[in-house]
Symmetry: C3
Amino acid sequence: MSSTPYPRNAWYPLGWARDIGQSLAKRRVLGEDLVVFRTSTGEVAVLDDACPHRLAPLSLGRLRGDSVECGYHGLAFDCSGHCTQAPGMQRAPANAQVRSYPTATSMGMVWVWMGNAALADATQVFHLPEYDDPAYSVIEGDALPVAANYLSLADNLCDPTHVVYVHPTTLGSTGREETRVQHQREGRKVVTWRWVIDGPLIPIFQGLKDFGGNVDRWHYYHYHAPSIAVIDFGSAATGTGAPEGARGDCIQMFACHFITPVDARSCVQHWLLLKNSPADAATDERLRAGLRVAFNEDKAVLEAIQRNEDKPRDWQRVQLGLDASAIKMRRIVQEMVEAESA
Amino acid sequence: MSSTPYPRNAWYPLGWARDIGQSLAKRRVLGEDLVVFRTSTGEVAVLDDACPHRLAPLSLGRLRGDSVECGYHGLAFDCSGHCTQAPGMQRAPANAQVRSYPTATSMGMVWVWMGNAALADATQVFHLPEYDDPAYSVIEGDALPVAANYLSLADNLCDPTHVVYVHPTTLGSTGREETRVQHQREGRKVVTWRWVIDGPLIPIFQGLKDFGGNVDRWHYYHYHAPSIAVIDFGSAATGTGAPEGARGDCIQMFACHFITPVDARSCVQHWLLLKNSPADAATDERLRAGLRVAFNEDKAVLEAIQRNEDKPRDWQRVQLGLDASAIKMRRIVQEMVEAESA
Amino acid sequence: MSSTPYPRNAWYPLGWARDIGQSLAKRRVLGEDLVVFRTSTGEVAVLDDACPHRLAPLSLGRLRGDSVECGYHGLAFDCSGHCTQAPGMQRAPANAQVRSYPTATSMGMVWVWMGNAALADATQVFHLPEYDDPAYSVIEGDALPVAANYLSLADNLCDPTHVVYVHPTTLGSTGREETRVQHQREGRKVVTWRWVIDGPLIPIFQGLKDFGGNVDRWHYYHYHAPSIAVIDFGSAATGTGAPEGARGDCIQMFACHFITPVDARSCVQHWLLLKNSPADAATDERLRAGLRVAFNEDKAVLEAIQRNEDKPRDWQRVQLGLDASAIKMRRIVQEMVEAESA
């Protein structure tokens, strides 16, 4: 599938809130370089990372109070991008202004709005209710750079069928998985799911709970266009009615993926895990390590695909049944892009 | 001389047979990435290295029996490129097919045919009779990557006159070599030769045989377009009639060069040496080491030339008498290309 | 400010004379690769670094007497670029000629003329009288590569106002410098200057002389288009009349910058320092170290600016009062380029 441009009117993940402090940092989102800092009141400021005078990156300057001062000639900009100091001038030139971007925080992630600021609504930032539910504990994940278009990672996160081939030691079963995959579009979301009935636990669930035998397990991939995936996966003792909704004594996890499109050929996969059991340092570290293995397996495949896609060659492509869900997801993204350019 | 495209209807060296086993390997020939493996019956399979579904390189997948299984979604292809497994599908889509390429083996080298498969004739693969002659022993060489167009290496292998400037410590004499170079086209081959009468042994021949004085030595460069060179070089005691054909008690060697065009700016120089004396570990290693020095000297020159040729500059070029042979060789290659596009 | 092409009819710095001996070296000036060597009579020869036969770089060949011999086929060229040897030929082909470039030496620097050789006048090479004045000692500097267009470095060397922001620990004062900057065009030179009255010594002057209190200090930036800057800076006891010309007991230094445009995105900053006090190993090394810190601070800023300028983006730029001098300097360069193309 060919790469699609990005919608701009959307909340995109900028970085983990824990990584953004009162100092200057550089980030790249939708092909734009940004300078990021936290003000004394805790707000996150995001500006274009170029002084409009000589284009020196502001991230190489200094944070003075709640303004960033350019390291070349001392022009200073507040968190809305207004020039508050222009050395040698009575007043700053009228056009001395850096573009600023709205931000919001949710689920430990700082989000940025790269589009029309008038449309940015912080109440619409993604939030999963279980994140605040005391029945669930949070395992903080990583910010994994992937040298592939973000929609190629999105394809992967709409697709339960690759698991057995790419992740046989962590998330997949050892046998073939031929049970039916279903999917459905819901507004700007696509849900893709499959049940495996009366099978063994997947590798990373082993040791977490003793079901005394086989389990019924579910995999629901919720993809919120353009760049958020929540994978709800779990297991309950087989025959106890889980597929019909009776998941009482079960393992349930949510793998949340917040994708930052960096540019047409790279993205950052921010992930965290929720699980329906208390935090436990040893267990949590084992799960984190297992997911790191799995997500690096995806990274290797997606980066190799990107290198093939970058070749100046007219590839003949085959479409399979499993692509239906990713095709719907890409269509939503395309609709968002087209709505913006209309 | 400007770089010329490649003929496709030719047997090109793919890799030493000793390096190709029952596992997946990646190669690049004429700008195409290929996955290579040996089947259980010993045949070598060569396919395009991209699954037609999502373009994942097949070389990152798994060899299952005599089929390659894609590492992303499990599509499998046999050695003719037919899809034998498409997970989740009753049958593979009709267009699920990877291009396969004919192969043949000769002189320890696996050869591949990148052009019209209907024209591939394994009986036409290059073979030097002395390779099977018990009077000659084989010194296995290397697969030397050279960051230059393959025809620039071909120029070098049609040209005895560079030896004294580029290889003074191995293949060249210490003095100037002004004896006449002759050449002749024979079909798709150009032969270029010179004799040096009553001179000293070249450095790498020293110690191999005692001629009790000076020698007459010959250098015949047989270039088979587009990418094979055999250099027949040797020495006999001076005045014993070698130039007239009486080479009885002589040193004779054949340096065979099989060039793989990787893309417009790089190639692999596969080489081996035949000599008319029995294998001897110490001698063979000394000869191998000497040739490694020499071929790396060529590599340094050719890669520097490539960097100059890549500059966006309209170079004024000078032609010398010594170029006549390389010009004929390039004309043959050009004829092959034109015949294919006609 | 967008990058401007280079005038060709100008003396450009090629390299420190101390670094150019009787051996082959490679240099790059105005986008051209050059082979450089010194002849037995001490002259510096500069030729295009490509043999006109096969384009092998001559710098990979051998110096034989006062000629460079190509390392591939032995063509030899004297320091005017004439072919003096063409192996296998009765005489060299008429077009066997490499372009040579006039050179001159001044201030320990070898200069090269890349334009119309008929206009090269060695008496016009830049020379600062104080370089030969025994009242001044010379501190040899470096050849610092900067990955930025040479005019971006030129902007920097027309601009006293960046010092306090970029060089607070070496060349700048610790406070803000709001004193007025003046400038004036004089032919192909722009002079930019400011005085700071009754202030502290700048960091690198500390310990050189005891003025018993504050000083008056001057900063005169003499920029000779297209690529030479001399910064005359110094201090005298405040109130003793320095601004009016009475600089009797003062510290005075000249920082000389000779910029080699390498190509559109890189240059080499050759610098040396003159001071009005005798050479002293410890002091000189401390000054040299301080300037290295400062010039590497400029390098970091200018290279980051270049990366922003290289982005395919239509930047909105702000102009400040401090730009007036650099704008005049760029106008002179533009006039030189236009005069050549007329």
